[in-house]
Amino acid sequence: MNTSLINYTLHLADNALILGHRNSEWCGHGPALEQDIAISNIALDGIGQARNLYQYAAVLSNNGATEDSLAYLRDVIDFKNLLITELPNGDWAQTTLRQFLFSAYQFYFYQQLEKSADQQLAAIATKSLKEVTYHLRWSSEWVIRLGDGTAESHDKMVKAIAEIWNYTGELFLPASYEKELAASGIAVDLAVIQPLWEQKVSAVFAEATIAIPEKSFAQKGGKEGIHTEHLGYILAEMQFLQRAYPGAEW
């Protein structure tokens, strides 16, 4: 039970950290100053949510682990983030589309997690939900603006969907630790949020004049530590300092 709760908390923390790290790569490179600031703020919210979750995972582990050791000293196979969060940013269409698909997921997910039997996870969910509401609004607007924009922006959004869609199936495939915790009212039942997510995505895609792809093969494995080649490169950059100078603080 405790191992499952640690794994589940790490899964949520890793989602927030890895996507937060990806979004932070835009800092200083955004297409306009205001949007550079927006994506950097979204990155900061994600990393803040990750900190709350890692701190809780460290308490549960009760083995000397800290939020820093969990973020900086675990290897690829230990990370449990969804594959969609580790995909490269691509262009602005791909970045905003990924954010939309993930924020819509997080929005309904946290709405359920607020009711978790685990009080700390519920508190983190309530706190995070306020932030995710802004992310979902911002990213929906970008999907619509680009999809229903010029011929060129429309094409870029269509290309982005082709690139990312196969990674959305994993959002609703529960890992073993999730199934166990859902039965005891701690974890979110993914079957409950799937229709809500699909409804939201359909509505925004319709406004963006883009089609939802036919059902397709779902890439999976992230939740159990099986990742794409991209995660290793993220960790190499993110963990370099702690690996080269163990215990360095500032």
Partner: protein, 175 residues
Amino acid sequence: MTVLSNHTTETEKKIWLLLETVTDPEVPVLSVLDLGIIRNVSVEPSGENNVKPVITITPTYSGCPAMDVISINIRMVLLQAGFKDIEIKQVLSPAWTTEWMSTEGKNKLKAYGIAPPQYKQAVCTPDAFQEEEAIQCPQCNSWHTTLISQFGSTACKALYRCEDCKEPFDYFKCH
């Protein structure tokens, strides 16, 4: 018993007054009390004839980098006042809301050039392109303003432009 509780209350009162001097490093006109992030102050016995202040704070945003600095500054102010043993606890629930900001804090924000949060949250849904609530320009008081971005210079602010005086300004957004 009565003496002890009186003593505790007086110490607590003193701590609240000290906290009034700790400000937000990113919005230095606001004290931590104006912000509404101090959730509780209590005093516990510590060793012989000593007391330990226990301050409970809650973050504004999950990733707000000011929180660590605020904790350090609270500790500094209490150390300077002679307290040796100090505990600062962070709680996430209930989640902070701009509705906890004091009226005085809102007035200070406006005088500083930042539009204060609305008294009651009007728009806080994820729907795209919704009609924005009217925000008053803190410079010229015009209501003729336009949202530039929901994300501003810090996590807690949105960016607006006044269509009358043409100045951009920060809005401490509803949360």
